[in-house]
Amino acid sequence: MSGPELAGFLLPLGVSALRQATPLVLAGLGGICSERVGIVNIALEGMMLAGAFSGLAAGRLAGPLVGVLAAVTVGMLVGLTHLWATRKLRLNHIVSGVAINLLALHSTTFLLRRLFSQADPPVEARIETMLPTALFTGLALALAVIFHLVLYHTPLGLRVRAVGESEASTRMAGVDTARVKMVGLAASGVLAGLAGAYLSLAQVGRFSDDMVSGRGFIALAAVVCGRWTPLGMAAAALAFGAFDALQFQLQGSVALPGELLRSIPYIATVVAAMALQPRPPADLGRQEE
């Protein structure tokens, strides 16, 4: 490949990688916010879906910016629901996550049909004016850096890390741990909702059934591979995005099957979980007494 040819291959690849990685970074930050305060979050998928749908629904009515606001609000409510279910109902974190994912999937498809659809299938709702993806990409990358600074260099970050390691000890140190958890889960929902809004309002400009299609779980994978740190997670998410982009670029052209490229995040995560290198926060998943 000559120089210009290589550039012609790499440049769109890089752009596409960033576009694929953006929702992963946003949702991954949401995963960190939740898991760092001790709440297992396999509900990222559902939070993103709820955000994507509400963003598009509100966006159609009042413009895309209002849509983003709606996505973020709904995401936050879902995040707080997860907290409420695990703390007050004392639901197992996994059970609550599964329930939220199912509810989000089925209620968005239900509402999509009820509110927007005439034909079946395909069912989808569109929006005319889309937001620039670069806006979200820049925001996501900036947030990753900001979260790193917050986590390691601010009082809130110290409290978040402490709560995730041992809520009991943190309470004994005089910290209002319930508030820290609330902040964490609200932020988790906001970020996942934002990731959803990116998908529906910026990347494709429509909502279709199950459009998040597993990105929430890949974001969770990025959290695990990135050892629950914002920068590590962002690096993993960018790598996953690059594999995704590569697979689109290579589609049909090379012997390398797309399935293999798509599988890389999953394989990487199983290996990471096996190596035990990424130590999760010590109090992660602890049930309220």
């Binding site: 639901l91 059970v95 239900f110």
Partner: protein, 338 residues
Amino acid sequence: MILRRLAPAVQPLLSVVGAFVIAGVVVWACGGSPLEALTALVQGSCGSSTGLLRTLSKATPLLLSGLAVAVALRAGLFNIGAEGQLILGALAAAWAGHAFTGLPAWIHIPVCLAAGVFVGALWAAIPGALRAWRGSHEVIVTIMLNYLAIQLAHFLVNGAMKDPVSMAPATSMVEPSARLWAAADGSNFSAGFGLAVLAAVGVAVLLRHTALGFEIRAVGLGADAARVAGVNVGRTMISAMAISGGLAGLAGAIEVLGVHRRYLDAFSPGYGFDSIAVALLGGGGALGVTLSSLLFGGLSAGATHMEAWTHVPRQIAGIVQGVVIFSAGARYLKGRRR
């Protein structure tokens, strides 16, 4: 005495009723008639013999994968990976169904079922072993293995295992000798339902009457006490996951041999995920799981009918499921702590 035996059923029943009420409110809020919708739902699921058979056919994979989740749950493990195990089990059965020719049905069918069970068990033993040996959380690993299974199956049925004469991403049809008996009325009801009920009986016997089942329950309720008493906790976890995966694999195999007659890419509408709701509502016991699979099977069968007659989208059934997990899950896990 009778009251005491019924007591465990009270909360699941209440949570189901509650879920229906909430779904009714949703239907009403969206301008539908809850009563009409409910009537159509009941009509579709048990108003006719075809409806009834459809309910049973929908319940079959739910029952088996629900048992799968339940067995793991009894060992204190969350098998979120039933979907992946089911997919690979189905693929294995489809392969055995057309790769072996000239076998009599009484050999061919068991061979295909065994292939599904074996592959499902193997796939589920991976997270079990990683949990036992490395302490890796089974939830993360099973989620990832689900997606890996989906990609793997996708790859195979578009390549090496693809039916050369078909356009669809699917394997060749299985030999007639590998097909389960099925009703001809379009209900998709097959002998697989009987196999699923047998499996439920088997799980009940396993959990109540065998040493392995005893160990599984001991590890689930008190892993430390079990370890101190000499139970090999790691091996028990792996066994439980393997049995769980075998049941999910069986579910996939039966879908292939009884309904689709071949492996069709993306044939599962998420049985493996719905099974979590089935297991939680059923309280992790074989009888409870059977009853809750019938409920969800009926819901699924009736929802299509309801959608056709009342224009209430059938996804309302999924909303009922989600609410049930919330309320029934609170019940199941409250009494125990890890």
